[in-house]
Point group: C2
Chain length 227, copies 2
């Protein structure tokens, strides 16, 4: 479903150069829920953003759905992001003037789904994360955990093949966390590839695979424990 | 140091009225580290925002430093927020165009501290959270956990009497979390009142007291376990 081949990421800030991710070769497969763990600032969000075509590698290749991202046009890339990839950002990225329902409908409208169907599917996605009763609230009127659950519903509603989640349970209590993880686990068993960045030890029991990142270096199937 | 006396908070949204927090009487004392736990959307951030004079109660009173907040002028309130209270917001609230160092210096400059002293104290606060090496980076160039640590340094640098933290470790790995909590615990033993909203079971061992919030109702010294 998605691959990195010798892909790295460097940033220039003033006269210093930061290597956020060293050259990495990694494969994400369907039917698999992978956790990405590691210290703060180690490169986890960078890895996820490369896979999600949010940022581009300094060197090396990223392939999604078998296509090299570097060779795709801007239109092909935005179609890929819309129809193939679901992304839950670390800071939610909800659109402030839109209600919870409108935020979840938004990607469906972009896909050309009719207003009526978009509303029904968005409502169903909000119910799945326990947020139907707050559908007419705007992000500013929602708690941190409620905003996070709306962001999760928005990433799931387009039925992506590749689901990338950046700390999706950081603002959630144990009950909400379990219901979100059960849903993500169910989806991965139905065929999609799920990658989750987390510091939360509670997530270990849902994972098929653990990837460890430290100072930009990636170790696959790490026996590291999240403590 | 801070008290709620029969304080509640209601929001009107369209024709519905939401009670974010029911009438609550609660006291926060110096030399104490209190945890505030409870499900997502239960009213924890609302409770913290009332104490921090970020929002005002619909009914009842909030007292900080012995003064009724309702009877204070705008100038007295902004002085109270600047000199008495430190706040770590759930979404960090860093000022985007400023570097990490400038963000931490900002409250000191408002207090009238000289540029040189402000820089030295800000640098020390950043070192305390392991972020001195990223002092010239702007929030967009920092990872989630790095931004969170800068927000913690900014709340500590003014040496507040009352420190209010909303999920201060949600984006932190175990090592960063331990160093932040040890610092908060040390400060509470030196005399300040610390209140921390969290879903993180790892924080239990640092707490003197646990306050449980559910559907706007507050139970003090709750035997609830964070699991
Ligand atoms: N401006 C607002 N208008 C309407 N309702 C609001 C507003 N702000 C908060 N609420 C509601 O008040 C309730 C409590 O919110 P609060 O942010 O205190 O929850 P919380 O316990 O901090 O949750 P979390 O753990 O998800 O951060 C929520 O149900 C939320 O929808
Ligand atoms: N635009 C940028 N410019 C410069 N450096 C950057 C930029 N974006 C990220 N970095 C650096 O790259 C490194 C990796 O960041 P990344 O966001 O991937 O970390 P992370 O593992 O997700 O951390 P956290 O757990 O704190 O969210 C960090 O040290 C960060 O300072
Ligand atoms: Mg990150
Ligand atoms: Mg909150």
């Amino acid at each position: 479903i998605a691959q990195l081949i010798g892909a790295n990421k460097r940033y220039k800030s003033g006269d210093t150069e930061i290597t956020a991710l060293q050259a990495t070769t990694l494969d994400f497969r369907s039917n698999e829920l992978a956790l990405i763990i590691g210290p703060s600032g180690s490169g986890k969000t960078t890895l996820l953003s490369l896979l999600g075509c949010v940022i581009y590698p300094t060197e090396g290749e990223v392939l999604v759905g078998g296509n090299k991202v570097r060779e795709m046009s801007e239109t092909q890339l935005s179609n890929l992001r819309l129809n193939y990839i679901g992304f839950v950002f670390q800071n939610f990225n909800l659109v402030a003037p839109l209600t919870a329902l409108e935020n979840v409908m938004f990607p469906l409208t972009l896909q050309g789904v009719s207003g009526q169907e978009a509303k029904a599917r968005a409502l169903q996605a909000l119910e799945g994360v326990g947020m139907a009763d707050r559908k007419n609230f705007k992000p500013k009127q929602l708690s941190g955990g409620q905003q996070q659950r709306v962001a999760i519903a928005r990433a799931l509603v387009t039925k992506p093949q590749l689901l990338l989640c950046d700390e999706p349970t950081a603002s959630l209590d144990a009950v909400s966390m379990v219901s979100v993880l059960q849903e993500l686990h169910r989806l991965s068993k139905e065929g999609i590839a799920v990658a989750i960045v987390t510091h939360d030890p509670r997530l270990k029991e849902y994972a098929d695979r653990t990837i460890y990142v430290e100072s930009g270096r990636v170790t696959d199937n790490a026996e590291f424990s999240i403590h």
